[in-house]
Subunit: 214 residues, 2 copies
DNA sequence: CGGCAATCCTTACATTGTCAAGATGAGTTT
DNA sequence: AAACTCATCTTGACAATGTAAGGATTGCCG
């Protein structure tokens, strides 16, 4: 009896004894996937390993996800929700619209730093032009929220705010990505937080500078 | 005789008849890899498929690359060289330092648009902290070249130019990445070139705006 | 209480990365 | 020029992975 059956494994983990059928496997798989991602990186995030960690046979996930891609999509969607919550909390730590916007941006790169593999998975899914609606729904929201915040902070037109919003998003996203990919390793290589703060200060000037006619 | 031997395949492709031993397999593999990448995306870039396209057995690559990762690294390095050349050419199309800098940045995202999978491979290699020297050597160069260009265009200090350089790089990189990942699909979704130009114009104002003391 | 449908397991197969031996030919040495 | 040597290439094998088919188990609904 050297091999334990999947259900034995699950029970031996001390988890709340599932009524059977594992209770809510879909959720458990997503959770397990995120854990693997944070502990051992994207390369270790395999379907079978996820099932193993959830204490279930390797084909069980197919009753909840049509595909490995579907699992990854669900994990990415969960990641987007996590990031949304973290950023919203950061933005609400102040009442000043300008500071709120800055906190919003800084928290964007903080999240990338704290969850490197998850962040990469979220934004690196090569799902062609047909993005799964679950993902699209979860990932949308940054842009409109930023436009709103910029309008509140500067009182400029929605059109101008759109451009500025894209600028801020691109900058923070690019900084996070470059850091994740170890591209920011020149001499001195200050910590990521410092770089992000620098850039946010630099960008802050645009918000107050005069806007010449287009 | 339905199956052709690898060498037959290579010869039937009309390539310059190799003395044998394929001539320069390492180069052929990198080339084949780039082709697969552009035609069928990153998921299709498999070691065996690359060997197949190069007209060689599936284990042959191991005599030129220690690992699949090493192949990917070589392809990425090649990509960096391609991007360097393209950007340098774009920058030299004008004599005005400001315009040159703008062309430099716009070409950065153009390259990403024209070689989506290759671009992603280049910047998405999860090679931990121990980046292979071949890659590091090939990918370095953007930053110092931009700092130099910014100094020439604005006459500001090297320190300020460093911050601005990081800002430009991050912005263009982030824009390219977000576009590649289909994150820029809100209503209207203007073409990428237009967005890049918008941002470059917006950023241009920083270069001329007064710099308050730190 | 009986059947149904969902959930899960087992088995199986093609593909992939990787390794270990053999074959082959190019260049060098004698 | 003949023989040797070694890098290069091929063949065959193995474990791991994604995926599909069919059988077992369980909760639920009538």
């Amino acid at each position: 009896m050297s091999l334990k059956s999947p259900s034995d494994q699950a029970k031996s983990k001390g988890l709340p004894p599932p009524t059977y059928h594992h209770g809510d496997l879909r959720e458990a798989l997503v959770q397990a996937g995120i854990e693997i991602l944070e502990e051992r990186g994207l390369a270790a995030l395999t379907l079978r390993e996820t099932a193993r960690r959830a204490g279930v046979s390797h084909a069980a996930p197919y009753h909840h996800f049509s595909d490995k891609g579907a699992l990854l999509t669900a994990i990415a969607a969960r990641g987007f929700r996590m990031q949304h919550n973290a950023m919203a909390a950061a933005a609400q730590s102040t009442t000043d619209p300008g500071e709120g916007l800055q906190a919003y941006g800084l928290n964007y790169v903080s999240f990338a730093q704290n969850h490197p593999s998850l962040f990469r998975l979220m934004y690196t899914r090569e799902c062609g032009p047909n993005t799964p609606p679950e993902l699209a729904e979860a990932s949308s929201g940054f842009y409109p929220k930023m436009v709103e915040g910029i309008c509140a902070a500067t009182g400029c037109s929605v059109e101008q705010a759109s451009s500025i919003s894209l600028l801020l998003w691109s900058t923070m996203h690019g900084l996070a990505m470059l850091w994740l990919d170890h591209q920011l390793l020149w001499e001195g290589h200050p910590p990521l937080d410092k770089l992000a703060y620098e850039l946010s200060e630099l960008l802050g000037r645009i918000l107050q500078s005069p806007n010449p006619a287009p």
